[in-house]
């Protein structure tokens, strides 16, 4: 599969020997495992470069996209969720609830294509592919961030509603604290814990979702690299990409766990 179809039997045999395909499965796995510990995933079959370096080179682009998407999500979702909860059952609440529901049900890749259709094809406002300027970042970031936006909006709303019905909020109001401080200081701080949790989990969704978004917008990140690597059967690159994306996700969740202790002093790290 990795050699030209007209390769001779000896060539195939030599190639298998060089690649170590003739060794028992467990030996191959052991070699992979020891290599992976040292950051050595082998050479990319297609590019002839170390797979690890190829993936690392693409990491910044993926982080940029995921970070931008998360920023979009937080900037839209938290205010929307708070307003929905404070002004419950008003027009604003209905609009934000419906938009959140739609956002949660919309496939990312379709949203991406529709955004390209409207903003690139019809109005020619924003570029539809590539990376470079801030304008290149707008459509992919919105596409990738929408699902997360929808989830965080719904979570913020329900969290705030729960907190706002607590006794200490009534106490604060009773002793004459005006509306804004109650919402921002008393309520939001207590509603923040589930939001922080979900942000950690959502980052995994974003890193995974970048696979599709990067493919649509030809964004030169790890996601697109790994899809191409799978089509090319370039397994060292696939392994390196999955390994690095997963490690990132685990690391982020560790940071989130540490953040809890600042938000909720009742939680102590042992």
């Amino acid at each position: 599969m990795l050699l030209p179809p007209d390769a001779s039997a000896e060539d195939v045999q030599k190639f298998r020997e060089v690649m170590g395909f003739n060794d028992p499965f467990i030996v191959q796995y052991g070699r992979f495992f020891l290599g992976a510990l040292r950051g050595d995933f082998g050479q990319s079959v297609r590019h002839g470069e170390p797979a690890f370096n190829l993936v690392i080179e693409r990491m910044p682009a993926t982080f940029e996209l995921s970070g931008a998407a998360l920023l979009v999500a937080l900037c839209l979702a938290i205010p929307a969720g708070i307003v929905s909860a404070v002004r419950r059952n008003t027009v604003i609440d209905y609009i934000s609830t419906v938009v959140a529901l739609l956002g949660q049900s919309m496939p990312t890749f379709w949203l991406g294509i529709m955004l390209i259709l409207v903003f690139s094809v019809q109005f020619n406002l924003l570029p539809s592919s590539g990376r470079g300027t801030l304008e290149h970042l707008v459509l992919p970031a919105i596409t990738l961030g929408l699902f997360t936006t929808a989830r965080i909006t719904r979570l913020t709303r329900s969290g705030m509603l729960e907190v706002l019905s607590q006794d200490y909020i009534r106490t604060a109001r009773a002793k004459g604290v005006s509306d804004p401080p109650v919402v921002w200081k008393h309520a939001l701080k207590n509603a923040a814990i589930p939001i922080v949790t979900i942000v950690g989990i959502e980052l995994g969704t974003l890193l995974g979702g970048s696979v599709i978004t990067e493919t649509i917008f030809a964004w030169p990140g790890v996601g697109r690299l790994s899809v191409q690597a799978i089509y090319n059967r370039d397994y060292p690159v696939v392994q390196a990409a999955v390994f690095l994306l997963s490690s990132t996700f685990v690391l982020v969740n560790l940071v989130v766990d540490v953040l809890y202790t600042y938000l909720d002093p009742r939680i102590r790290l042992r």
Binding site: S105, M114, L207, V211, I212, I216, R233, V238, S246
Partner: protein, 308 residues
């Protein structure tokens, strides 16, 4: 359709006969409460329409979804072809009727949805029951396994496995099914942890029931409600994943029409024929929205405190 059988609400489960099939009275009560939620009812109707379309595709569609007609390619929605046949949503780059393909595309989507949810649901239920009931090292092993599973970006894992094994309906179903058990396991485990300490379980033990019997007859029926809610909402996620895989060319292969595959075709013609990509996407959106609405209603009715 009658709502799926549900267990006794937890608050009334103290009675020793817990584990019997829910009485018809309780079904009716639950159905009435669910029917009062208009959005849930709307979601159910949408899902029913999609199911009927998938089952009766051959009769409803009016066109063969794979019939090509190059002279009538890229017809705009609502226009007629040379033979005077109307194409409500237009035709694609090979002259195939888009509406017919959308109707047939519901089949792989629902098939993968139901089958994958069944696999992951049963796996998750088993893991959750064992983990929550026995605790100790069994619990540790399963929960660490869940952490490992969650650490991988799911879509990347699915693409990698399908890329190696080759895309086919069984492979897609198994890959999605086997890697989606974690949510079920966690929810069921949580329910079991509290059920384990309840009086009726202790009573069953006192009467000499074995672990297996206690788990299956007394605990499982009561852990069923949260499981059902998770299953419904997970179905929406699975359908999106199926279409994403088809979009990347790793789903059910052509000529079988899939929503994701239609979108991928339409993407190429985005600057000249907007309808190619728009309508299949709407099909996914409406189906998933319907399931989500129904699932939300189900959760609010059955288990309002369940956080998902």
């Amino acid at each position: 359709m009658d709502p799926a059988p549900i267990s006794v609400p937890l608050s009334r489960a103290v009675d020793l006969s817990a584990g019997r099939a829910p009485a018809p009275r309780e079904w009716a009560l639950f159905a009435r409460r669910l029917a009062r939620r208009r959005t849930a009812l709307f979601g159910l109707v949408v899902v029913m329409i999609v199911v009927v379309a998938a089952l009766g595709a051959s009769w409803i569609a009016g066109y063969d979804p794979t019939e090509q007609d190059i002279t009538n390619r890229l017809r705009a929605p609502g226009s007629q072809d040379a033979a005077g046949r109307a194409h409500l949503f237009g035709t694609d780059h090979l002259g195939r009727d888009i509406l017919a393909r959308m109707i047939f595309g519901a089949r792989p989507a629902l098939m993968v949805g139901f089958a994958a949810v069944a696999i992951s649901g049963v796996l998750g239920m088993m893991v959750g029951l064992l983990s929550g009931y026995f605790g100790g090292w069994i619990d540790d092993v399963f929960m660490r396994l869940a952490d490992v599973q969650l650490a991988f970006p799911f879509i990347l894992l699915a693409i990698a496995v399908i890329g190696v094994l080759g895309p086919s309906l069984p492979v897609i179903i198994v890959v999605i099914g086997v890697s989606s058990w974690v949510v079920y396991a966690r929810v069921v485990r949580g329910a079991v942890l509290s059920l384990r300490e309840r009086e009726f379980v202790q009573a069953a033990h006192a009467l000499g029931s074995r672990d297996g019997r206690v788990l299956l007859r007394h605990i499982l029926p009561n852990a069923f409600t949260p499981w059902l809610v998770v299953a419904t909402l997970d179905m929406a996620r699975v359908i999106v994943i199926e279409s994403a895989l088809s979009f990347l060319g790793l789903g059910v292969q052509p000529p079988t029409p899939t929503w994701g595959g239609m979108l991928a075709d339409g993407r190429v013609y985005i600057s000249t024929a907007w309808w190619l990509a728009t309508f299949p996407g709407l099909a996914i959106l409406v189906t998933v929205l319907g399931i989500n609405l129904f699932g939300d209603g189900l959760r609010d009715t059955l288990d309002p405190r369940l956080k998902l």
